[in-house]
Amino acid sequence: MQKQTTPDHGPQTHGTPRRATFQWIALILATLATWLVGQTGATGTAIVGLLAVISIWKGSVIILDFMALRHGPLLWRALILGWMALVWAVIGIAYWKALA
């Protein structure tokens, strides 16, 4: 087997420390928002929608930047983002069914 090496790539694949730090802070703030919603005990379609959006946004940061799929092949970016969207779509349908 020939030695397999990653093709040369610029450091942009994993972004800059500065960008990562801002994203991390934003993620923590988003988590606090979810926690606050939980503390107030608020519920309803709008609240669940908000929580879903927060979760999807956080997930997309992980997927695109932490997992570096922003610079990855379209197939894999679509698969993982698609998973996130599908999971929340199904959860949404089930929640709507529970309300009915």
């Binding site: 087997m1 397999q4 090496t5 990653t6 093709p7 092949p73 197939l75």
Partner: protein, 141 residues
């Protein structure tokens, strides 16, 4: 597509993943063993029922019947036969075999003693009391 795919990594993932899921399986098994006393009707697992299980095994009953749905599919389910037929019918039925009706499925004659018949019935009484999550869907098995 751009990326790396190495045999060494595929191998590591195989070993890691297999060990991981086997450990998870063991953890669930551990919990199952903890939970079984609430479900497996061990109160009715008497000496007589144990002897009945031995008779069940040494006559290879599983070669035709199912027991809790497992076995051969040639003859009726017996996990709930105690409830379906009752003890006296079961004993009389076993003693009357084979029916000899032409063209019909035949069950061998096992020459069981009265005591052995009682033990077999005790075994069926025990299996009938196992909590099978409401299976079978109806009494016909």
């Amino acid at each position: 597509m751009s990326g790396v795919f190495t045999k060494a990594m595929a191998r590591n993932i195989f070993y890691g993943g297999s060990v991981f899921f086997f450990l998870l399986f063991l953890a669930l098994t551990f919990d199952t063993e903890r939970e079984l006393p609430n479900r497996d009707n061990r109160a009715e697992l008497t000496e007589s029922a144990k002897a009945g299980k031995h008779i069940w095994e040494t006559r290879n009953c599983i070669g035709c019947h199912t027991l809790l749905g497992e076995g051969a599919y040639f003859a009726p389910e017996l996990g709930n036969v105690y409830e379906r037929r009752g003890p006296e019918f079961i004993k009389a039925w076993i003693q009357a075999q084979p029916t000899g009706a032409p063209g019909r499925r035949q069950m061998p004659q096992f020459h069981l003693t009265d005591e052995e018949l009682d033990e077999l019935v005790a075994f069926f009484k025990y299996t009938n009391g196992i909590n099978t999550a409401n299976w079978p869907p109806n009494i016909e098995g």
